[in-house]
Point group: C2
Chain length 430, copies 2
């Protein structure tokens, strides 16, 4: 990895470079996605099954689209027992963390009869998209499903594309069951998103669709937004390590590579106050790349979006971390908690040399679905709150309204909304 | 108003009808909006001032785009003193309610050295769009700004189109100052949204853009979403009154009309178990329409989207209210709190006969920016939370990581992410 000195110019180039990973012109795909959405909306099941035959080469219909209890049992039989045990241990932590995010209805009353409050209600039915293909990520199933389950969503529906044999990956299926999914449908792509957004004879309409997918799935989610809710569209993975001379260069290098291995658009950045650490980390990354099975992807990702920046002061380094607003931020300094207090923007913050990023991906409990591409400046990790919604509660007594009715009437008149004023006035006109 | 008997068919037609108010084909506008966005992104101030000259017929440049302290003082001098007093009284309530929504950072630690938590940070800088034109809604300024202020947003920037004289409406300006806006820029339309999303020489880039606007503003906000955050796009206003035979027909009628007066797409629906009440309300609405200054708009809105439904049972009535998921829901029944417990979907719930909807628009404290068009099934009122974001905190000690490191490594290996496994393994390899 190339070592650069951090200054305003470096920071500016780096930011512009990173943002380029989020291309905004998908014109050709958009039209095709819209056609799929329109067709499913009109022809429902028929269209869904047609597309599944065309895109997934699988023969799915109303009799076998819903995964049966036997198929789930089969999946368990095929799943690695050790992995199942680990999944269960991870779920205990994930559930415990998310339970702390729960929000409750509250109210505030006064003796004059007013009561104001906020009623918290779980979404009734949500859809979780799980990609098919060779790469299977049970951890992603757990992280998408558990916040909905903790929120109290009654029906958690999973959709995932079937293989040519009409089967769903057994590990995905067992993970879904463990996490609390209530029904699994064998459909994928934009047609699955359309089915969840509009409902078909077989697949019920949901209130919100979450989960990662390819470009068709992402565009379909964006297109149905407003009709249903969606999670934010995830970009390529990112890690930023903030370190001083006390950091272990071998740990830093290994952690940078753990994100670089995701894909060639992933970004791994070290910002450090120590020139010596920078050089050591650079050497260690070269060494690891030789050993690791995904060395080729890692090398490309580092060539594209890997950086080691040397900053004059820790303040400058923190400043850069806040501007980059990385998905994952590791702090390996002499006093990492102190540094943490100065961090404004990051999806997840890993503190100290034993808080390696994969600990958060798999096990610690916090969600691994995090804002990417600088959006940690305004977005949050996926959480229980994404599956709750609020209604305001307003109750006034006659006595309480009488105290303020003239103010309200005059405010409404000032906005020339006379029927607003009238609706308060009629209560005191006799 | 026409009285219909509530059944599955009525409900279905009514829902389809209401959803039609949210048209989804803005093709011609979209291209023009995109051009404005691209031009402002490239030419910055120059483009913003050009568009302002073209669309608002106002001569604005770098020297006068920012509202000065003198202009604010002038605005106060011109503002109605009584209205200012009412605004201040309303603000006390709005601030008090929103303070109860505040969320705080938390952590959970164990004696083995683990600490997990959630750090809550306010967005740093947000933009509030306020429409220009003849209709001035200071209440909307208060409701958009106060949640950001309570959240602790450092810079709250307002944009609003200038009149031909290059001035901003004085009431808007005074309301902005009262609510806590830190800077006001005289720009409007898609060009203002672009300036806030990308930044120009005069106007700083923000993290989030909120506030209502015309179709150009709405489409511009949608287009920059992801680059910055936005609030949800508001649809036409709605009220649903749930009433039994104990309700006062005159109050019910007046409240229905208070929303119908907004515009011809607004919707006002009464769902009642009492045929007698239905008939009385129908008569009362006719009477009010004669008297009210906005009678013509009200009549059109009622003809389009006004309904009185008679349900067999209160359960059926509640069911319909949940399916319609109205922006505003008033409950005027013998035991309104009991009914409230059964409400899943509504933006704001008004309880009892003295909780008239305009009380919530202007005075009680809860936000009046609410989910419309059925989106109360998954969206919430604008709140302090819209101006906060969270970062997960993960800290493990060596001791704690050692307990679980093999689980994490095996989970990562199962997902074929070997560099993930490696980054944990290196910490225990000596």
């Amino acid at each position: 990895m190339r070592i650069e000195i951090l200054d305003e110019n470096t920071k500016k180039h780096l930011l512009e470079d990173l943002l380029k990973r989020s291309p905004n012109s998908y014109g050709e795909y958009e039209a095709r996605v819209q056609e799929i959405l329109d067709t499913v909306r009109e022809k429902k099941d028929e269209a869904v099954f047609d597309y599944t035959k065309r895109f997934d080469k699988a023969q799915i219909d109303g009799t076998n689209v819903l995964v049966t209890e036997e198929e789930v049992q089969e999946a368990y039989a095929q799943m690695d027992e050790n992995l199942l045990r680990i999944v269960r241990r991870a779920l205990v932590n994930i559930e415990a963390y998310h339970q702390k995010q729960m929000q409750y209805s509250w109210f505030d009353s006064k003796p004059d009869g007013t009561m104001l409050g906020q009623k918290v209600t779980a979404l009734r039915r949500v859809g979780v998209y799980v990609p098919g293909g060779k790469a299977v990520y049970p951890s992603s199933v757990l992280m998408n499903v558990m916040p909905a389950k903790v929120a109290g969503v009654e029906e958690i529906i999973m959709v995932t594309p079937p293989g040519k044999d009409g089967k769903v990956n057994p590990t995905t299926l067992a993970a879904a069951k463990e996490a609390g999914v209530t029904a699994v449908y064998k459909v994928g792509g934009a047609q699955a998103v359309a089915a969840l957004a509009y409902g078909t004879e077989s697949i019920p309409k949901v209130d919100k669709i979450v989960g990662p997918g390819n470009i068709y799935v992402a565009l379909a989610k964006k297109a149905v937004y407003g009709h249903v809710s969606i999670d934010s569209i995830a970009g390529p993975s990112e890690i930023l390590v903030l370190a001083d001379e006390t950091a272990n260069p071998r740990y830093v290098a290994a952690d940078l590579l753990s994100q670089a291995e995701h894909d060639e658009l992933a970004s791994a950045i070290l910002v450090t106050t120590s020139r010596e650490l920078a050089e050591q980390v650079s050497r260690e990354t070269d060494r690891f790349i030789q050993e690791l099975s995904r060395g080729e992807i890692i090398q490309k990702s580092l060539d594209n979006y890997g950086h080691i920046l040397v900053a004059d002061t820790m303040e400058d380094a923190i400043d850069a971390a806040n501007e980059i607003a990385s998905e994952h931020l590791e702090i390996m300094t002499a006093d990492p908690y102190q540094v943490m207090t100065k961090i404004r923007n990051a999806g997840a913050i890993f503190i100290g040399e034993y808080s390696s990023e994969p600990l958060g991906d798999y096990f610690a409990g916090p969600n691994h679905i995090l804002p990417t591409n600088g959006t940690a400046k305004f977005f949050s990790p996926l959480s229980v709150d994404d599956f709750l919604k609020k209604s305001s509660i307003i109750a006034y007594s006659r006595e309480a309204l009488e105290q303020v009715h003239e103010d309200i009437e005059q405010f409404a008149e000032a906005e020339q909304l006379t029927a607003h004023a009238n609706s308060v006035r009629v209560r005191f006109e006799e």
